[in-house]
């Protein structure tokens, strides 16, 4: 199958050239600098700087945060997009708008909201203090802020997919005797799993990389409330460039790793993916 091409070869080359130039300037160069600076003083120095207890604690906190935020937002994202794409109800547009809030406000403001809610001067602060609970400046605040910032990622990815697929297949499954759960498990989920995978990858990347909101609620307590991005900033501000870039290389490596996994999965299921994308229509 060949699409009719009206552009001349020259225009085609110019367009490809512009795209490549941007990729090199904004993706490959920064990546190269991250890794080259991290390895500047040799491999052993690189690993030693990662072995720093505070850095290890920050890695742990980042992983725990993502481990809690991503599954929760996965469930929320599926439920919200299911409701929005498959049903008509009052207030649907309001829900759609609300889902976008974390994407449209600055992460710093997202963080501030939690300070205003749970901080000592905040609405629930005194009550929480009286009951012996602390949220702000603890890992709980980091997890809450991360959940808030990343909750649109899965839903945003799924809503268009679900809308495009309509209800026909679910209705067919029901007339064939499937109950709601089986219909979801055998029909809906397989049809949205690619969108779901991309959503989870985006959600995970954002959960691990989030800086602004987390920075506001963290209090920057080394070894306790510093996530990896916060630790990187702290190291950088302390002029420990190599250590900062070593930690940064971990985040970059993680991003590359998820992309490789995604490509591998796509390659493995290419036939099925083709069938699903082409649709039954």
């Amino acid at each position: 199958m060949s699409l009719a091409r009206t552009e001349s070869p020259l225009i085609r080359r110019i367009l490809i050239g512009i795209a490549l130039f941007y990729l090199i300037l904004f993706i490959f160069m920064p990546l190269f600098i991250v890794f080259s600076t991290a390895l500047e003083k040799g491999v052993s120095y690189y690993f030693n700087s990662l072995k720093d207890p505070d850095t290890i604690a920050s890695i742990q906190l980042t992983l725990i945060t993502a481990l809690i935020a991503v599954p929760l937002n996965l469930v929320f994202g599926v439920a919200a997009s299911w409701a929005i794409a498959k049903f008509d109800f009052r207030g649907k547009n309001i829900l759609l708008t609300l889902i976008d809030v974390p994407l449209s406000v600055s992460p710093v403001i997202s963080g501030l909201i939690f300070v205003l809610l749970f901080g000592l001067q905040g609405i629930f602060g005194p009550w929480l203090r009286d009951h012996g609970w602390r949220i702000i400046f603890t890992p709980s605040a980091i997890i809450l802020a991360t959940i808030f910032v990343t909750f649109p990622m899965v839903a945003r990815e799924l809503i268009p997919v679900m809308k495009a697929q309509g209800n026909d297949e679910e209705e067919a499954a029901i007339t064939l005797g499937a109950n709601g759960w089986k219909t979801f498990w055998y029909i809906t989920l397989p049809n949205i799993k690619w969108g779901l995978l991309y959503g989870v990858i985006l959600c995970n990347a954002r959960a691990m990389g989030e800086f602004g909101a987390v920075s506001v609620v963290s209090g920057h307590i080394q070894g306790f409330t510093n996530t990896l991005p916060l630790q990187i900033e702290m190291l950088y501000n302390d002029y420990s460039f190599t250590a900062a870039f070593a930690a940064a290389s971990l985040l970059a490596f993680l991003a590359l790793f998820t992309l490789v996994i995604k490509s591998l999965v796509e390659y493995r299921f290419r036939a099925e993916l083709k069938a699903v994308r082409k649709g039954a229509h």
Binding site: E171, A172, I174, G177, E272, A275, G279, H281
Partner: protein, 354 residues
Amino acid sequence: MSIEVKNIVKTFDAFKALNDVSLKVETGELIALLGPSGSGKTTLLRIIAGLETADSGEILFHGEDASVKKTKDRNVGFVFQHYALFRHMTVADNIAFGLRVQPRAIRPSEDKIKAKVKDLLDLVQLDWVGDRYPSQLSGGQRQRIALARALAIEPKVLLLDEPFGSLDAQVRKELRQWLRRFHDDLHITSLFVTHDQEEALEVADRIVVMNKGKVEQVGTPQEVYHKPASVFVLNFLGNINLFQGRVIDGKLYLGNAPVNLGRGELKSNVKSANLYIRPHQFDISRKPQGDNAIKAIIKFLNLAGSSVKLDLSTESGNTLQVEITQQEFSQSQFIKGESVFVCPKDITFCEYEI
């Protein structure tokens, strides 16, 4: 299994999709729900399947109230206009789905399911596509697979929503004859929705003509075509010509000749009448025959087909559609622009004004 629909009402927001619809379908019948879009035919089908709930009214399956049953327990085979095949499953898995989701206690063994899938693929004459994905099939093949999938659960009722609606004309013709033969073999009580009158007339045992959420007429193809119950049915089931009849001295006249009503006397309070005449109910000749001959000019001739279709323009400027046999045409050899006389032989429908 017989289906009885009693006084169904269904409203979407302000739109009344079904307005007090009642209908009885006997066991083993093949029924067409015919009507223009927005007439409520698909809504009625979906209510019978349980995919929509009626605001009021009853659905009885074999005398038992079905409205309390959920869709999945109604044992209804449903075929969708756009097939609704599961795109991520092979054809064989699609057909097996209804069996595999059955509760463990009644689910057949995997071997039995495989055998059943093979039987169904043979039945729809597509035994070689089991391993393919729906996207690799043509429209007609997909619809046959959709039918096989619906039949896998051995439904007591088969519901088809515009089953041939998204197919091209040739495949549509083949498939509807196939459906007819298929139904004659299996005798499952079946309802299909269509807006194509030709399809309904050709395939169905009985036709339910619907308009604006109401049933206009229920009858055999012959009945609805030759004895329409309303002007709507008349118009919907084929081309029609309208004439004004005059009442003089208690007799109905078309042109200068009295109309032979055949079925009884004209009521005394009738002032005038609209006379509806099908295109094939005319004699056409170069010389006037009879008192009610109408003079007209041939504007257009369509020779393609089993009959010859003529568009005529009368002296008063009205357009007439007339159909004659190829044989009649070969004897007369009318040409475009010629002046002719048309004479109604029969009248399909009279609408009296009092």
